[in-house]
Symmetry: D2
Subunit: 247 residues, 4 copies
């Protein structure tokens, strides 16, 4: 199978492999396959891309988790694709104020702040009549790239009133642009960049020196879905645990 499907989209490989187990192995009634794909780019030598040497680039890893259950006409399939390790930062265009204040509130409002995160996003595919997209003709690669592109553009262009607000606009942008996506689940740790208070040293700090904290932090989770979203059933059970694998 690996030989036959080399180079195709990971979703198709996962579908074929999961169906192989369910269809061909007696006792297997359901199967789930998760794939993680790492991005590479060619090493540049004398200004030209090298023929067979690659360097790992950033920009997020592509993931997919496919669940197949049942046999024959009753066979069902769910496809959840996503991106992990997508580290984003905007140096302005972000504020956080006007929040609920009670007697325990110590956080000061921010009118201009650095906003950064390491995004994990996953989205579920389904077609207009509620079935899951599993066809070979489906443009898995093009749609995956389109979803990622919209999320990046929204992160950049939305003037953010909160990381939660930005996540909502990212999800909304994807649902508006991609008819085959019916639901997104996003996890975004708030990677704080706190402005350092230099007033004890009688210096001002006009957005120049920050402390990049990773604790304490808020791990913001958001789900954005269509009003008429078909039921998820087994799709999100597919949410894989964090893999501490090779990378």
């Amino acid at each position: 199978l690996a030989q036959e499907l080399a180079g195709g989209p990971p979703e198709l490989f996962a579908l074929t492999l999961a169906r192989h187990f369910v269809d061909n192995i007696g006792p297997v009634e359901g199967a789930r396959v998760t794939i993680e794909e790492y991005p590479w780019e060619r090493v540049s030598v004398d200004g030209r891309p090298h023929a067979h040497t690659f360097v790992r680039r950033g920009g997020g890893n592509r993931t997919t988790t496919v669940t197949v259950e049942g046999s024959g006409e009753n066979q069902r399939a769910w496809v959840v694709s996503g991106v992990t390790d997508l580290v984003l930062l905007k140096s302005t265009g972000s504020e956080f104020r006007g929040f609920l204040v009670d007697e325990y509130t110590t956080l000061a409002p921010a009118i201009d702040r650095v906003m950064a995160t390491s995004l994990v996003a996953r989205w579920r595919y389904a077609d207009s009549v509620g079935d899951t997209h599993t066809s070979e003709e489906f443009d898995w690669d093009g749609i995956w790239n389109g979803v990622r592109e919209v999320m990046l553009a929204q992160y950049a262009q939305v003037h953010s009133f909160a990381l939660q607000h930005t996540l909502w606009e990212m999800g909304k942008g994807v649902l508006d642009g991609q008819a085959s996506v019916v639901e997104l689940r996003l996890e975004a740790p708030n990677k704080h960049h706190f402005i350092v208070d230099l007033t004890p040293f009688k210096r001002s700090n006009p957005g120049e020196v920050f402390y990049a904290a990773d604790r304490p932090y808020g791990l913001i989770k958001a789900a954005v879905e269509r009003d008429d979203v078909p039921r998820a059933e087994l799709a999100w059970d597919a949410w894989p645990p964090v893999d501490r694998g090779p990378g």
Copy 2:
């Protein structure tokens, strides 16, 4: 200090900070500063780089460790710069055979293999009369980029007889091209991509399906230095431990 030196090379910032502690704080006789710099690129929106939004890219993090000791005319300084997390892979142009064989040898020779690693490289600067380069005029950024470029080019272009051989050629290439670098230390885990043996299933596997193993592995370490290298003294004590920090 952070305000004054913003945007300059990390080596200069580390030198200034270390000297501040040694020169201005009574009991401090020596100081060591380590900096790690992460690479970012602008998010592309509608094909154009965005004004204030960035995505972490790969290609390795830049590091520097500076050690300063003593005061006045006797003050010494050592600068070791480097790159970490530089993940490289070449899909051909690599072999491993002709090695020593004894009664415990089970490894088969390979005439064409995938070679991959996650490189950590560090190199020590010193000038022609043996003193350490610590001047502000020194082109820290240009030389760092030059060292990285030569290492990538050598990794790509050298037909490799062993990962050790490639490391040697990478180090030699840097010493040949950069007069200010006198010694390199390289750590390269052998990230094996074993060809899967499909003969039990009566199929051939002409370089198509690999198993990306990360254990067991060899962690190859190499030091490459000039014949007339000045003594390292405290420079390599500066080798920092692995930081499990924010990233």
Copy 3:
């Protein structure tokens, strides 16, 4: 709250904190709190436990995740407790054979093997009429210890035909012994200890030398539940992500 509830079971603290947010903060309709508790023991000095010095011990961390939703009489609560990082090994009393064989099978049957895992277990509490146990009188500590004890005893005493078999017996043992537990979810990576094949060197290896591999591995997941288990609703949404925190 932290002051008032200090020293009590983490489940009670999580319940109180989650209810605080839902009951007292206007816009909050639901809340989820996850707690991880690390085990410590007193340092022994001259054979006696020291008054105020502790060393982290193993044996697994205690976790709980509490979800509260709704207000007044309609308020619901779900409690899922668990243990993570419980590293277990049995040096005999484990086999794996008689499994399904097809044309792709290369695994050899094992009649006596080392079986090891790093267990993550979580279990859901509910009372006999289907409501969730959330009472202060509930013996959170005693039951947590009881569940852990039964799992360890089953791991030790069951002659294992597969890690899956052992997980089933561990879950069954808990359900038999603890009326308040209605469902368990277990994750157990198969930490292989492969016997090293010394026949190329003309030596036998009667269970003496092993290779402790961690890849490739099977991450075995199992759910064990009562026949009449009440619906889980939001309970398992509570399954927390892996925390990379201080530890």
Copy 4:
């Protein structure tokens, strides 16, 4: 070799293995072997230790790194043993005040604080005439346990004026008690437990509620050695990198 040396101290196994490579394999002039040993205890079933089932316990992993160089009468050997992952906490008996204050100081003095760390300690063996202890008769296990015991006792019993002070007393205690140890190197991240300031909420906090921070932190390093310590030569080159292995 693994069969013959099973059950003996890791230092002896490492010595034998390193010498095998240097003595028996033509081109090898030097070898370094690092071993990590994990602690286990028997699972308790019905109050009795089980015959063949074990649970990983805490209290630190034992390590050793042995370097062998040269042949025949000129062969040299260095042994550095240690402990990693030894997580310690004392809830009182620790202060930090009277430190140097300049215009950048914001840290407040503490007269009673929680002090915690995750200790990595390594120590070098040498005998009274400067040669390295490599004999089979040497009590590797007993001395290793003795060193660990003294360090724990000092951590507990010394009233600490700083983590640095405690490390010094730990090192001194070992050198006083163990004639064969000539030098220790200690790494101790300051795992802060900051008292939470409840005064904004008009509550006192008499040592009840802490925030367990892991960043920012100081990674305290200390070396403690005898006045007449023999030269270390290759011993500390042996300091192994952090292994992200199976565990």
